[in-house]
């Protein structure tokens, strides 16, 4: 029987080759060739993934498929890590999203970055990101996943700081890197604990060991799960480590769409789903995941209400939606979380790309207060954005409805505390709908509020609009697959999903909750409509009526300031004290001083021998010769024996 060839190693390899080609030779290549290289690499990867998906669908390929499994990657003592990639249902879905959306955003970037300096550098970074992201997704063990995890962090850092001449961009890159490092610390500790307790980092072996011990619950598993959760909160921008993501908007907008909305920030969710067998054994860790997710969802949504930078609204919305995914993981509805991850990748990438189109059309303007009336000048951007707004708002039959509904339904079914989480989630949905329609009205409706009038507001080129159109179709239809079929496909990896027909409350409850969710979304739309279309002066009045609340939201709960005062400043002061005074001045300076002193002192003594006085040399020579003669000629042993001291010479 012929084994079907998956060509799996090519999936990360091609973007890596693109990275090498553009990174090393990009400056000398013509722009068109750079674009072709940069586009072909992700396209080829995407086609390979599509082919694999087709083979799975037609039954030619059984999952999990493993094509690259090199044993003995690291073998030191009892530490034994293989180099293995695996493609199963979960990573296949992720690969489709990463390479598919990734390719579309590459296409969009060709138009968006056309006039930028460092065109080749940009695309080499983007390809590098895809390389590491595919490694992360296909990794069969935690260490290899960590390689991808760090790699996407590097690509993210490079791309946030792409315009490194701007201090704010360079600072934002550093902030993202440092905050992620805190999360990585948790990931590392989690890996050490896994090694210590399971002796392996390969996911399938850990799952097998857990299956062999059905009574193993809590304890060290909770510790591992919480450590991994810390890593996930760093990468997926959850409380308390979400602060880097809004600042990451300093990067080019397509980067925000690809890395900081659609793919990389979902790595934490993916990691939790990938290690769900650990979380399943620890109810405490699961509830922590759920609480972190829910708290982040509502926290970020409230901040998004008052932001005026179009990209910051979307950034906080991303944080909030990632909170939904964590909520889904926290109620053990992993396939619902992955489902939302997928639809979110479609509509959030679309939102960012459409926002990028707006920014591009307005010549770099990002302030919502200076937009308005773009409906007529940018019709295609407007309509695609509309699809995305309805999708994230959770309107039937757009994609966001199905996935958000699935998460909320699972939360509702999750005991008494689940009802509470469901309620918060529902309230967040109201806020989400409100702030998205606020953005929609502010940008596209009413009259232009720009000072220099939008004489130059123009629709973007086709190469930017084509990805928008495709993503709009996906945002509309991406959810029609339904959580039942999606969950059934992922069931071999993530465990079975509950069937609403047999669950308490039956199918009616599912429908009822959906109706409530849509009603809430409509309410948000209605309020936004009243405030921002019919009476545009009310928001200012509202802000004046509740100055304290407004101030808290505008300053984002002062979280950055609190972190700055409580953590950053003491750490900086301590580092300054330790490094500058203790290490630099005391240890290094003292050491240098002591060494120099020894040399000086020794020199002062030894230089007396080197007097240059010939006769003193001769005197020393004569004295030395006399001493030698004395030593040889005098009968020492006899003399000493007379004094009662005896020598025993060897050999005698």
């Amino acid at each position: 029987m012929n084994e079907p060839v998956l060509l799996q190693p090519l999936i990360p390899l091609l973007p890596f080759l693109g990275f090498l080609a553009n990174g090393l030779l990009g400056r000398r290549l013509p722009k068109a060739l750079t674009s072709i290289i940069a586009l072909c690499a992700p396209l080829a990867s995407f086609l390979i993934v599509l082919r694999a998906a087709y083979m799975v669908w037609s039954g030619a390929l059984a999952l999990p498929a493993i094509e690259l499994d090199a044993p003995h990657w690291i073998w030191v003592g009892s530490l034994h890590v293989d180099f293995n990639f695996a493609v199963d249902q979960l990573s296949l879905v992720m690969l489709l999203v990463v390479t598919g959306v990734g390719f579309l955003i590459h296409v969009y970037s060709v138009g968006y970055m056309a006039d930028e300096e460092g065109y080749a550098r940009y695309f080499s970074y983007l390809n590098l990101f895809l390389f590491f992201m595919t490694v992360l997704v296909m990794a069969g063990n935690a260490l290899l996943m960590f390689v991808g995890w760090e790699g996407v962090g590097l690509a993210s850092y490079l791309l946030i700081g792409f315009w490194f001449q701007k201090t704010s961009a360079a600072d934002a890159g550093k902030k993202a890197f440092v905050v992620n490092r805190i999360g990585d610390f948790g990931f590392l500790i989690g890996m050490f604990l896994l090694l210590a307790n399971f002796g392996t980092l390969t996911f399938s072996e850990i799952a097998a060991k857990l299956n062999a011990n059905p009574d193993w619950n809590g304890g060290i598993l909770t510790a591992i799960a919480l450590c991994l959760l810390l890593g996930a909160t760093g990468k997926s921008a959850q409380l308390p480590l979400y602060i880097w993501l809004p600042d990451a908007m300093e990067g080019p907008t397509p980067v925000s769409a690809l890395i900081h909305a659609a793919t990389m920030v979902t790595a934490g969710v993916y990691m939790i789903a990938r290690t769900h067998f650990l979380y399943d054994r620890s109810p405490f860790a699961l509830s922590v995941v759920a609480i972190v997710g829910t708290a982040t969802a509502i926290f970020a949504a409230t901040i998004a209400l008052v932001q005026t930078d179009i990209k910051r609204v979307l950034a906080y919305s991303t944080v909030s939606q990632l909170g939904y995914m964590f909520l889904g993981c926290g109620v053990a509805a992993y396939s619902a979380a992955i489902f939302h991850l997928m639809t979110h990748a479609f509509f959030k990438a679309l939102l960012f790309l459409a926002a990028g189109s707006v920014i591009h059309g307005l010549g770099g303007e990002q302030d919502l207060r200076k937009m308005g009336g773009l409906r007529k000048s940018m019709p295609i951007t407007f309509w695609t954005m509309t699809a995305a707004v309805f999708a994230i708002g959770g309107f039937f039959p757009f994609a966001g409805f199905f996935s958000k509904d699935a998460i909320l339904y699972e939360a509702f079914q999750h005991g008494a505390s689940g009802k509470f989480l469901w309620f918060i989630g529902l309230f967040t949905a109201l806020l989400t709908s409100f702030y998205m329609f606020r953005l929609w009205y502010l940008a596209f409706f009413g009259e232009s509020r720009s000072e220099d009038h939008h004489t130059h507001a123009h629709e973007s080129s086709w190469i930017m609009l084509a990805p928008l159109a495709i993503l709009a179709l996906l945002s509309i239809g991406g959810g029609w697959i339904g959580i039942d079929r999606f969950g059934a496909f992922l069931a071999p990896v993530l465990g079975p999903v509950g069937d609403p027909a047999t669950a308490p409350g039956g199918k009616q409850l599912d429908v009822l909750l959906s109706v409530v969710a849509v009603a809430v979304a409509l309410l948000g739309w209605f309020v936004a409509d009243r405030l921002y279309r019919q009476r545009p002066d009310t928001p200012a009045k509202l802000a004046a009526a509740f100055p304290a609340g407004y101030k808290v939201l505008v300053h984002k709960y002062w979280v950055d300031e609190i972190y700055g005062a409580v953590l950053v400043k003491p750490v900086l002061a301590l580092s300054k004290f330790l490094l500058e005074w203790v290490v630099d001045v005391a240890i290094l300076g003292g050491l240098a001083w002591i060494l120099g002193g020894i040399a000086n002192f020794g020199g002062a003594i030894l230089q007396r021998w080197q007097s240059g006085n010939l006769r003193s040399y001769a005197a020393w020579l004569a004295a030395g010769a006399a001493a030698l003669l004395l030593f040889v000629l005098l009968p020492w042993t006899t003399l000493l024996a007379n004094l009662g001291i005896h020598f025993h010479v060897a050999g005698h």
Partner: protein, 100 residues
């Protein structure tokens, strides 16, 4: 017959005179002469032992030393003359630089 030790004592006395002269004299020519004195003190020991043991080796050594001393005298005196021309002095304390 004169005992061996007398010869050796004379030889040691000559050598010590040479050493002391080498150390305390300032004139380069006197220093040079002191070196010759040390060599000849040693030569006397060689000859004494050669006579004592009836061996020629000691006397051959003496010839070698005398040849070397003659060569040394030729080269050394040439150097002394060169130094005197350059420095107008033969005091060893003032000739403490390697270059002229």
């Amino acid at each position: 017959m004169i005992p061996l030790s007398w010869y050796l004592l004379l030889s040691a006395a000559l050598f010590c005179l040479g050493v002391v002269g080498f150390l305390i004299k300032r004139n380069l020519i006197t220093v040079f002469m002191s070196i010759e004195l040390m060599l000849n003190g040693v030569n006397l020991s060689f000859v004494t032992f050669a006579h004592q043991w009836h061996l020629v080796k000691g006397q051959i050594f003496v010839f070698f030393v005398m040849v070397v001393a003659a060569a040394e005298a030729a080269v050394g005196l040439a150097i002394i003359i060169a130094v005197f021309r350059a420095r107008s002095t033969l005091a060893v304390d003032r000739i403490d630089l390697m270059k002229l």
